[in-house]
Amino acid sequence: MYRYDQYDQAMVDARVAEFRDQVARRLAGKMNDDQFKPLRLKNGLYLQLHAYMLRIAIPYGTLNSGQMRTLAHIARRYDKGYGHFTTRQNIQFNWIKLAEAPDILADLARVEMHAIQTSGESIRNISADPYAGAAADEICDPRPWAELLRQATSFHPEFSYLPRKFKIAVIAAEVDRAALRWHDCALRIVTNAAGEQGFEVYAGGGMGRTPMIAFKIRDFLPAGQIFSYLQAILRVWNLHARRDNIHKQRMKILVHTLGEDAFRTEVEAAFTHILTLGSDFPAAEYDRIAAHFTPPPFDADAPDDMDLSDPDFARWVARQVVAHKMPGYAIVNISLKPVGGIPGDVSADQMDAIADIAQKYSFDDLRSAYTQNLVLPHVRKADLFAVWQALKAINLVDTNRDQITDIIACPGLDYCSLANARSIPLAQKIAQRFADPAVGDDIGDLNIKISGCINACGHHHAGHIGILGVDRKGIENYQLLLGGSGAEDISAAKITGPGFDEDGVVDALERAVNAYRAQRTPGERFIDTYRRVGMDGFKEAIYG
């Protein structure tokens, strides 16, 4: 993975010193919260219902064991012993004290981590395929480009006071494991007819109150020009976006207002100009970064067969383990969705144990996924049984990847000051209702995604089944949505009809699932049946 040099370290250290200064000014009463808020948000620090919340960047979802141990240390020393992995591959801590935030950032800087631009109207942490560098289906590792863009977009002087937040994702496979086109700018690495690598570029995606899927603005952009193109997109948006209504300032709204063709024309004109400025990083810098992502020293003779005589282990392998590009190796998905648990929450002790496992069995490499799960990208098949046993010791061997109990849920009203309704208790009730693994297997792939408010951190627009919490005259109420996807078959979910109370929405969801089971043809997933029969095929079952 990428390691900081003196320059990277100096920048992060300077940021810690700057924030220490800003916090001191705030605590001394030299700034009010209106003035301080944008500064703390640029360091990922929110004021939530019960305390400050710190969101730490996990660049393109990649961590090593030392970094994971530091997260465990933060959970113990500064928080209440746990952290929460988010839908953008980051981690949040819920019980942070303002006075201690600079110390936390200093501890992070020691392991080459930060919370820079994890909130606020800035270019956010860049997300990527959690299987990067390991996936059998990728054309290259997308992370060198993600790291290059991380640097290029850090402290960008022109784009640090944007109209709204700006999210970028990078993948290099046909299969989308990063909710690609739900991002403001989505990049897929492709190879053209001449065999050169470049980017398929999409712009204007986003969830929130107005869900939009990014449109393809460029079929092929030479890879070395990506920073110029990105700056062109940002400049057009920065100059032309509305500034009078925070709900209409995301780039997707500008794309919609101007129209795709006019937006593209503006971007291409800006690109032609910016290309002349020499701001693209040279090939030598890409090569330097890419050298940090060379494959680990795989054992070419690693055996490809394994002993699956233990039925629990075999079931876990079948569900949680996927193909690696190297024979004899596998990608392990660690479910953070125990039935009755809190999606994405991990205790400090679990973090330490996961760090040990990654160090011992996965070349010191760990990933976070937007599904709020973790990934061990490079495990020898011969070690899978030992990994399973080690995960079992910390209660992390749930076998539900992409199934009905693998639920995405935002923190909701239990923690978040923006939320209108609780998300986590709903995820728990749904998981408990469908806890029987045989039922989960029968239902098959089904993504449930729950948001506690219209901001859609729980990706409800992208759920095969989505749930949106709303405030109905002071009472938590839930809308049910069907038909969304965050994968390569991307689509936006539609609301079924009137909302429900907490127990009512669980019952309604069960009726929708039963309608699927009654109508499906062999091999059809829930989403396939929905697409074939439409909302009408479900509505009567849901509302009767």
């Binding site: 320059y7 944008p38 002087p157 022109e158 100059l239 500034r243 990083f281 810098e285």
Partner: protein, 141 residues
């Protein structure tokens, strides 16, 4: 108006500021004020006769002026480029990198705070409209 903080060595400019429309109609005008959201490229044909461009920041969250400033510098403008309005100390370093060399803040800035802000970051990751050498260039010589 509060005091103007100037990071240029040449003589201060006291020419009256014109709106874009008035500037375009007045051949003797030497100073222009650009409101947030106005198209700065309108004055590009006349850069040779301009000594001062003031760009308005009505609220510090409104970052349009950063792009306007860069467009001006990229078009070859070398005169004074002043940020006016809700100019907070935490914006100064970014403004400097976008080509601003004068500041007219609504609320006075503390001189030490300004110096700290301008010197806070030892390097810059990317090319912009200032003399800073990007880190990638330092790495590769």
């Amino acid at each position: 108006m509060a005091e103007i903080l100037r990071l240029r060595d040449d003589a201060p400019i006291h020419a009256p500021l014109f709106s874009i429309d008035d500037f375009l109609a007045e051949p003797a005008a030497r100073a222009v004020r650009i409101e947030a959201g106005e198209d700065v490229t309108q004055i590009f044909p006349h850069l040779g006769r301009i000594d001062l461009v003031e760009i308005a920041f009505p609220r510090f969250r409104d970052g349009r002026g950063f792009s306007s400033a860069r467009l001006l510098r990229e078009a070859g403008y070398v005169g004074e480029l002043r940020a006016a309005g809700d100019v907070l100390v935490d914006l100064i370093a970014f403004m400097r990198r976008c080509g601003f060399d004068a500041f007219a803040p609504d609320a006075p800035l503390d001189g030490d705070d300004v110096a700290n802000a301008l010197n806070r970051f030892p390097y810059a990751y990317q090319h912009a409209s200032d003399a800073a050498v990007p880190i990638w260039k330092l790495r590769h010589g």
